[in-house]
């Protein structure tokens, strides 16, 4: 049963600290997405990759957020420095191609105090 995995599942950190979230997409999927979900804003697309190359990151605050795919089995989302307003659930999703369905991971719940 192929699934997207995310680590850590929960993260509590203090303002100003660096946070790194990791995602393992489903083997064979060539698109990877990072989303942020809050009660107020719902699901927001932060960035997405196709064949490990960034296609769009216009939804991401560039001064503190960065997303990379070091290889086909790992995607990372980094926040440095973190702020309380970054508190949210961060989802990674992967898909067989753009324009097709996405399969979401269980999310990382981030709390910045």
């Amino acid at each position: 049963d192929a699934r997207v995995t995310q680590t850590p599942r929960h993260k509590v950190t203090e303002m100003g600290q660096e946070v790194t979230m990791r995602c393992q997409p489903i083997l064979g999927h060539n698109t990877v997405f990072w989303y942020r979900q809050t009660m107020m804003q719902g699901l927001e697309l932060l960035a997405y990759f196709r064949n490990r190359a960034p296609l769009d990151d216009s939804g991401m605050p560039k001064d503190r957020f960065s997303a990379e795919m070091p290889d086909a089995t790992l995607a990372t989302l980094k926040i440095q420095p973190s702020e309380p307003r970054d508190s949210a659930v961060y989802f990674c999703a992967s898909g067989p191609n753009t324009g097709y369905e996405q399969y979401f991971g269980p999310g990382t719940r981030l709390t910045v105090t």
């Binding site: 997207v4 997405f33 989303y35 719902g42 699901l43 927001e44 697309l45 997405y48 296609l55 769009d56 216009s58 989802f91 999703a93 753009t98 324009g99 097709y100 369905e101 996405q102 399969y103 979401f104 991971g105 269980p106 999310g107």
Partner: protein, 111 residues
Amino acid sequence: EDQVTQSPEALRLQEGESSSLNCSYTVSGLRGLFWYRQDPGKGPEFLFTLYSAGEEKEKERLKATLTKKESFLHITAPKPEDSATYLCAVQVRNTGNQFYFGTGTSLTVIP
């Protein structure tokens, strides 16, 4: 401006009481419309993709339809296990092929 709006925000149904959820969109060019189901504490789960007006997809008690301005998710004879938040998303045909999600409809089916 590209926009996705879902209604109602919340819906309570008696078991067996059929209804429809709405997703209206205003985009420069639609590449695809997607329906997802999200249970509390979990990631969204893919249900359907629709690509062109007139298209319909079915899965068990759910049926999704698409027009040029909106999509409906019809739920026939719902059961308590259908309780969840249903999300609609569109992919826009532009340079970045952006995705936009609606804020969802929270469905509660009462036994």
